[in-house]
């Protein structure tokens, strides 16, 4: 078995999490940083769900539409429904095709139009939305969008809605990031070592323990996802082979282990503060050695020998 075959077998087993991020539905938070950028992973996931036949809507706020569509081939580009908020975020040109209500209005409109079928909404990026909208409004809108399918009383069968949001965690304080991650069903934090990217995936299923997994991956130029094993073991620094590990328990002047006899003796020992029946009997029995101890005392001038007459003025 060559190393590549073994690696492929390994990735076949762990295919679960990173590939099926959107299968749970709800809000998927993609947290990236300056060192490990997340837009390529976002595009890879978008490409995958477009190829699966889902409806994909993109809310583009941070980069232009040309830059986002770059790298996708034409059949994927035809399936993406792009809502552009980069060119004219405040709608100053007052064109008719702009959706009213800004990005949040667009979100709500997408959900109202949904017919049966899973929908993926990619938010590029949540950081832009957090900087332009109050955090509470954004949280309420995301919650309403991602939980639309959980209402049992809906008349029309609404498909599963997944919202994929890119969050640059270095731009925000712990407050908004904590609030959004408490709302998210899945949280993917990007990291890595030595040129290999990893995704730490935390899945919060409702009423169950959260599960987490670290998946090493790389994005190919056509934005398909390549899952990999972790970095090779030889790259880790090993201890110097010339110095043997020291065992501190050798050459001691005291005994660390008890022999069997010693252990029995210790178990049968009665501790001084434990009151057992033997001790009680020993105390109640008159002690044979009592006669051998005497107390010699000489009263001095200030001692009071008569306990009943403290002032010494009774004349009896």
């Amino acid at each position: 078995v060559t190393l590549s075959e073994g690696a492929r077998a390994g990735t076949g087993r762990e295919l679960g999490m990173l590939d099926s991020l959107l299968s749970l539905g709800g809000l998927v938070l993609l947290r990236d940083s300056v060192e490990w950028e997340g837009r390529s992973l976002l595009k890879a996931i978008v490409k995958k769900s477009a190829l699966c036949g889902e409806q994909v809507h993109i809310l583009g706020c941070e980069v232009s539409e040309e830059e986002f569509r770059e790298g996708f081939d034409s059949n994927i580009n035809n399936r993406l429904v792009y809502h552009d908020f980069f060119r004219d975020p405040l709608n100053w040109s007052k064109t008719e095709e702009a959706l009213p209500g800004g990005p949040l209005g667009a979100l709500r409109a997408i959900c109202k139009r949904t017919d049966a079928g899973p929908v993926t909404i990619a938010l590029d990026s949540l950081s832009w939305l957090l900087l332009h909208l109050p955090c509470t409004t954004l949280c309420q809108a995301l919650h309403a969008v991602s939980h639309q399918d959980s209402c049992p009383g809906n008349s029309s069968p609404v498909g599963k809605v997944s919202v994929l949001g890119l969050l640059h965690e270095e731009l925000h304080g712990p407050g908004p990031v904590g609030a959004l991650s408490s709302l998210a069903q899945t949280e993917v934090t990007l990291g890595g070592t030595k040129g290999q990217a990893s995704a730490h995936i935390l899945c919060r299923r409702p009423r169950q323990r959260p599960t987490d997994q670290t998946q090493w991956f790389s994005i190919l130029p056509d934005f398909s996802l390549d899952l990999q094993e972790g970095p090779s073991v030889e790259s880790q620094p090993c201890s110097d082979p010339h110095i043997p590990p020291v065992d501190p328990t050798t050459h001691l002047t005291f005994n660390l282990h008890l022999s069997k006899k010693e252990r029995e003796a210790r178990d049968s020992l009665i501790l001084p503060f434990q009151f057992s029946s033997e001790k009680q009997q020993a105390l109640l029995r008159p002690r044979p050695g009592q006669a051998t101890s005497h107390i010699f005392y000489e009263p001095d001038a200030y001692d009071d020998l008569d306990q009943e007459d403290p002032d010494d003025d009774l004349d009896i």
Partner: protein, 389 residues
């Protein structure tokens, strides 16, 4: 004879205090005469509402929180008119269980429920309540289960750390069958119990459809609507004694989920110095006023680990009566700690109220851990580690 009389009048005074609220007399001492419509025996009768009992320590009327172990820690139960605040654990797995046990206890006792949430529809919350173990056989089985787990520990004598044997142990005392029930977290409550109960739901996204302009000195609109809703229910159903013709007094159990999270429109979890950082504290103050003047008890779960300003947490603690913090071991380094291997988390009793008392009713045990063992949620003292040599 005299003892019986004082006992009767002591319990009767709670009832007469309730009756006084409705008649608004100056004094709370009243001669209890025979009821006009009642029986013809002339002794004082206890006003007993199902599922409540007077506290043996200070005479307050108590309701069960749904977990007998927790009732024991709080000195018998939750006093009517008070707020129980639960600080949620980080992944919000165990606090919904306490919340649901409280509501399920209300359904089993026939109390009226008011469920408020911004996250889930209250009807869905009620569908997921745990099933009560009303059968005595089942209850015995779980009692044995709990005690079997405890007896091996008490049989091991502490040899070296012998002083710890003298520490007071937490006992789950005998629970009367009318106050406090055990719940099976793996089964759902039967549908007919839910339908037979009287409940009101408040789901925030339905009540607030448009974004209103919020003045910085006032409460968040979500909180205002919730307070108005609670006040309406209390007034209409007569929990504050405003309808003296009501035939049977009942208790209102209010449950508010995830209060303070951004879904309620409050930004204390998002920013350290938000625009309405006093909204939550004002809400709690008005809520406590509503509760003190009515026969109701409230449970609130709050994600305090998300609140950015620690001063707000301190204010919230002062404005609530009982505060319990849940800390689960998931994801923390304590999960692999062998001391805590049997448990799922720690439970911290942060505050217990002094109701008509000079001292509060704390139990002697301080470090407690909880675990969700198969179906039962138990609270125990983890002291076995002291016995390891």
């Amino acid at each position: 004879m005299a003892a019986v009389a004082t006992c009767g009048s002591g319990a009767g005074s709670t009832g007469s205090a309730v009756a006084t609220a409705s008649k608004s007399n100056v004094t709370s001492f009243q001669r209890r005469g025979p009821r006009a419509s009642g029986t013809d025996d002339s002794g004082p009768r206890l006003v007993s509402i199902a599922g409540t009992r007077p506290s043996v320590r200070n005479g307050q009327l108590l309701v069960s929180t749904g977990l007998p172990a927790l009732d024991q820690l709080l000195g018998g139960g939750l006093a009517i008119g008070t707020v129980l605040l639960i600080e949620e654990d980080k992944y919000n797995i165990y606090s919904p269980l306490l919340f649901k046990c409280f509501l399920a206890e209300g359904i089993v006792n026939g109390h009226t429920l008011l469920v408020a949430s911004a996250k889930e529809d209250p009807a869905n919350i009620l569908q997921e309540l745990p099933a009560p173990l009303l059968d005595d056989n089942n209850k015995k089985e779980f009692d044995e289960d709990v005690y079997n787990h405890k007896t091996p520990e008490s049989n091991i004598k502490m040899k070296i750390a012998w002083r710890y044997q003298l520490l007071p142990k937490m006992e789950i005392g005998p629970v009367s069958s009318r106050f406090g029930h055990y719940y099976d977290a793996s089964k759902r409550i039967p549908q007919e119990l839910i339908e037979a109960s009287n409940w009101h739901g408040f789901f925030l996204p339905e009540k607030i459809s448009s974004t209103l302009k919020v003045e910085p000195w006032s409460l968040t609109p979500g909180y205002i609507k919730l307070l108005q809703f609670i006040q309406n229910i209390i007034y209409e159903e007569g929990f504050d004694g405003s309808n003296p013709q009501k035939k049977q007094r009942n208790v209102l159990r209010i449950g508010i989920q995830n209060l303070g999270s951004p879904l309620w429109g409050d930004d204390i979890c998002c920013a350290e110095n938000g625009s309405n950082s006093h909204s939550l504290t004002k809400f709690l103050y008005v809520l406590r006023g509503l509760l003190r003047t009515s026969l109701s008890a409230c449970i609130i779960t709050m994600p305090t680990h998300l609140i950015q300003n620690k001063a707000i947490i301190a204010r919230v603690t002062n404005l609530s009566d009982i505060v319990i913090g849940l800390e689960s071991f998931i994801g923390s380094e304590r999960e692999t700690n062998p001391l805590y291997k049997d448990y799922h988390g720690l439970i911290h009793i942060r505050q217990i109220p002094r109701l008509n008392n000079l001292i509060c009713d704390e139990s002697d045990v301080k470090d407690l851990a909880f675990k969700l063992k198969r179906k039962l949620f138990t609270i125990e003292q983890p002291f076995q580690f002291l016995n390891e040599k």
